[in-house]
């Protein structure tokens, strides 16, 4: 598997605050990789480091087999970037900005450009001082997606889009994926991440705390189990990784850490399982667990039995 982005132990400080604190991030070529984390976790600093706008204090950063700081210009021919906070030149129209950014990278396919503006319903004649946040974002999306860049770096690209446009965006990313291009997508819209992304990295306070496929991540968190057995279950509380055991309506409810699931199921088998409902954690629970300090709200984890 070749690697599009690789950060190892990257540190970036601003004065006394450590924005990136030993960050590791690896994005494989051809995958759509979600980059998640609470506000202020360091997502945008990571992306600006990848763009060569910030110079890391230490650690190793590789982007498309180049050095994002030293080889910035060459690398930027091969990547497209859509910022979350899109700031445009107030006196230029959206169409002018799209053309200009396209020409900087050596020209823009006018058919692709028109098609994208059509699908995203963008009026290119308005001066950008009159665009809403969503429309400014559309300008950046058209400029980014009209290119044939092999790596797309998207920093919360849909935070201002309406649900209809959000769907169009997802379709566009599917198309990008089919073409075998790589996407790094920072987002807070979990449904979008669940639909689009192959792998996920979660950062907190400048460090990656989780990385892997969604299934991988689910293994690392608790699954809720509700089981009815022929004989009363014994010795469950002695097993590793079992939490919150209680009995309700003659069913046993508990949560189990992903790693211990197999041992628990095997143990239950000895008591004549009549019915078993296993509820994997939702993405939302996953994030609440990772964003908050290890807090999975009990009722949220237990209720969907």
């Amino acid at each position: 598997m070749s690697v599009a982005i690789s950060l190892r132990n990257v540190v970036k400080t601003f004065g006394s605050s450590r924005a990136l604190d030993g960050l590791d991030l690896e994005v494989a070529t051809g995958e759509v990789h979600a980059y998640l984390g609470p506000n202020g976790a360091g997502k945008t600093v990571t992306i600006r480091t990848l763009l060569g706008l910030l110079r890391p204090d230490s650690g190793e950063a590789r982007l498309l087999d180049g050095d994002p700081w030293r080889d910035a210009v060459e690398l930027h021919r091969r990547i497209a970037y859509v910022p979350g906070d899109v700031n445009l030149w107030p006196s230029l129209s959206g169409g002018e900005i799209i053309d200009m950014l396209g020409r900087f990278r050596g020209g823009i396919d006018p058919r692709r450009r028109d098609e994208l503006m059509d699908r995203l319903e963008l009026d290119p004649r308005k001066k950008s001082r009159t665009y809403s946040k969503g429309n400014r974002q559309k300008v950046a999306l058209v400029a980014g997606l009209a290119s044939d860049a092999e790596l797309l770096i998207l920093d919360e690209p849909t935070s201002g889009l309406d649900p209809l446009m959000e769907t169009v965006f997802q379709q566009l990313i599917f198309e990008v994926k089919e073409q075998g291009r790589t996407v790094l997508l920072s987002s807070h819209i979990l449904a979008e991440v669940e639909k689009l992304c192959d792998r996920v990295t979660i950062i907190r306070q400048g460090r990656a705390v989780q990385t892997g496929t969604l299934d991988d991540l689910r293994v690392k968190t608790r699954t809720s189990i509700s089981v009815a057995t022929a004989r009363p279950v014994e010795g469950l509380d002695a097993l590793a990784g079992v939490h919150g055991i209680r009995t309700e309506d003659q069913r046993l409810h508990f949560e189990v850490d992903g790693d211990n699931l197999e041992a628990v199921i095997t143990h239950l088998g000895g008591f004549g399982v009549r019915s078993l409902v296993s509820q994997p954690p939702t993405l939302e629970e996953l994030f609440l667990r990772e964003y908050g300090d290890d807090v999975v709200p009990d009722d949220a984890a237990a209720s969907p039995a």
Partner: protein, 544 residues
């Protein structure tokens, strides 16, 4: 707000509109935001006046020295155009000399304070979207305008008191000192009103500042023409009224009335305009832009040029008109100095005529004005960076040096355009007034010869942005320094070593002096070196 009005407000549509609701909170917000800006302006102006006046008084002690000053200035059209008519110099006192040197410059700086701060708290806030948060609160439609006006009135009063007290402390008569302070207050209030009107007309902070700044430039120009030639013209300019208070020279207090009347009229106009427009919209219409980019927007340099095109045109037209008018009154330079002894005093050691000396001064003065464009054009790099508009460009295959060099090129090229156009028009004006076409090319050359000094200013700005980006605004202080040294160096008898820090001091005074290539080459090299250092800094630091 009383309980009664609160109840009325809750009664819904039947309640009275409250155009200035929330005023107190807004004023506190402005004071908090201006806790550095406000005192810096007030102290800066008062100190400028105090130091300038103190050094003048130190230089001109005896009746003979005062008479020398009067003789020196009375013959020079350039000095009248720059500094004003020199009321009271027929029988010179220290007060009259101080006023001749300091009053007009003080009034201009006061006007700039009013313009910058008024736009900052009205239009610029609307443009940035901050004002939207404020207006969504129970705050009246006019509250921001009124709050900014109250704050600026307070600052202007403080400046007036500070200036008057400084003058009295230096031993000048109280009545004249008060007149000087009051005249400055009048100018400050007039341009506060002008800026408030401009903030309603334009839809961006930059454009609003430009409109109000143009009004200030026109006031200055009208007065300059009036003071050199047609005296009645000076009475069409608020700056002419303010100077016309004749501090320390038989004060004419009634000029306060037109100043106050104009300030009130501008304020009323701003209120009326503000009622006719939407939030964040100007009175001047916004047209849709093109759907496709022109060929210009194919390179980063093209983008920089496009962004600054309007500003470059504005600066060029403004400075060129000033040059044309100064050229048209060049013949006055001779009639003013028919007195032989004055002519002897004025004519430099070289072969130049009186007109040449006048034209050389104009070249320096207008090149200093072009320095204003140069610094603001170069500083655009920093403001683009702060507004996170550098990112989309640098995320493309554009190197930082190429990106930053665009700003340097536009600053240098734009300054060259300004100097050539202003030189040509000054030359044409001179040709018309002297009936001698041979002046056009030498005058244009004299203007263009100032370019290396402007380039050094640009170099300083770029070096600051490269190495201490947060302190880039120091470039404005550098500009203020070269302006003061360039325009008042002789009159304030600023020591030569201080003057020689200014690059403009080394440029040969064409057409009064012969051309010297060495300073041109050396200054160009210094400018290139400083710009190069700056680009190196921009290459290696973080962006943002």
């Amino acid at each position: 707000m009383s309980t009664r009005t609160t109840l009325e407000a809750r009664n819904g549509p039947s309640a009275q509109p409250q155009p200035v609701a929330g005023l107190g909170t807004l004023i506190r917000l402005i004071i908090r935001r201006d806790r550095v800006h406000g005192p810096a302006w007030v102290l800066g102006i008062v100190l400028l006046v105090l130091v300038g006046a103190a050094s003048t008084i130190g230089l001109y002690n005896t009746a003979e020295q005062l008479q020398n000053y009067a003789d020196l200035t009375s013959g020079q059209a350039a000095i009248k155009a720059i500094l004003g008519p020199g009321y009271g110099l027929e029988n010179p006192t220290q007060g009259a000399v101080v006023m001749d040197e300091m009053a007009l410059i003080t009034f201009i700086v006061i006007a700039l304070m009013s313009i910058f701060l008024m736009v900052r708290h009205t239009r610029a806030d609307e443009e940035s979207g901050r004002a939207e948060l404020v207006r969504a609160a129970p705050v009246g439609r006019l509250a921001m305008l009124v709050a900014a006006s109250i704050w600026l009135t307070v600052l202007n009063v403080l400046v007036a008191v500070g200036n008057a007290v400084s003058m009295v402390a230096l031993g000048l008569p109280a009545e004249g000192s008060l007149a000087f302070g009051v005249a400055g207050l009048g100018v400050g209030l007039v341009f506060m009103g002008v800026a408030a009107v401009a903030a309603q007309l334009a839809s961006g902070g930059r454009a609003a500042t430009a409109i109000a700044g143009a009004a200030l430039g026109i006031s200055y120009l009208i007065r300059a023409v009036g003071d050199v030639g047609w005296g009645w013209l000076s009475w069409l300019s608020p700056l002419g009224w303010a100077i016309g208070i004749r501090a320390y020279a038989d004060e004419r207090w009634w000029v306060v009335l037109p100043l106050l009347a104009l300030a009130l009229a501008m304020g009323a106009l701003a209120v009326a305009l503000s009622a006719r427009r939407d939030f964040d919209a100007g009175i001047l219409p916004q047209r849709p832009g093109p759907a496709r980019a022109s060929g210009l927007l194919s390179t980063p340099l093209g983008l920089v040029f496009r962004l600054q095109r309007a500003s470059l045109i504005g600066w060029t037209v403004g400075i060129a008109i000033m040059g044309l008018v100064m050229g048209l009154i060049a013949d006055e330079a001779q009639t003013l100095a028919e007195n032989d002894s004055v002519a002897e005093l004025l004519t430099p050691a070289a072969t130049g005529s009186l007109t040449d000396a006048y034209l050389a001064t104009m070249a320096v003065m207008l090149a200093l004005a072009a320095g204003g464009f140069a610094v603001s054009a170069a500083l655009r790099l920093r403001s683009e960076e702060s507004a996170v508009r550098a990112d989309p460009v640098l995320a493309g295959p554009i190197g930082r040096v190429r990106w930053a060099a665009g700003y340097v090129l536009v600053a240098v090229g734009g300054s060259a355009v300004i100097l050539v156009v202003a030189g040509l028009l000054t030359g044409l004006g001179t040709a018309v007034s002297l009936n001698d076409i041979s002046e056009v090319l030498p005058v244009t050359g004299a203007f263009l010869a100032q370019l290396p000094a402007v380039f050094v200013l640009i170099g300083v700005t770029v070096a600051l942005m490269g190495w201490v980006p947060r302190w880039s605004a120091i470039a404005w202080a550098a500009l203020a320094f070269v302006v003061i040294v360039g325009l008042l160096g002789d009159l304030l008898q600023i020591p030569h070593w201080v003057r020689s820090i200014s690059p403009f001091d080394h440029i040969p005074l064409l057409p009064a002096e012969p051309m010297q290539w060495l300073p041109i080459v050396v200054l160009t090299a210094i400018g290139a070196f400083l710009a190069g250092i700056g680009l190196v800094g921009i290459r290696r630091r973080d962006i943002g």
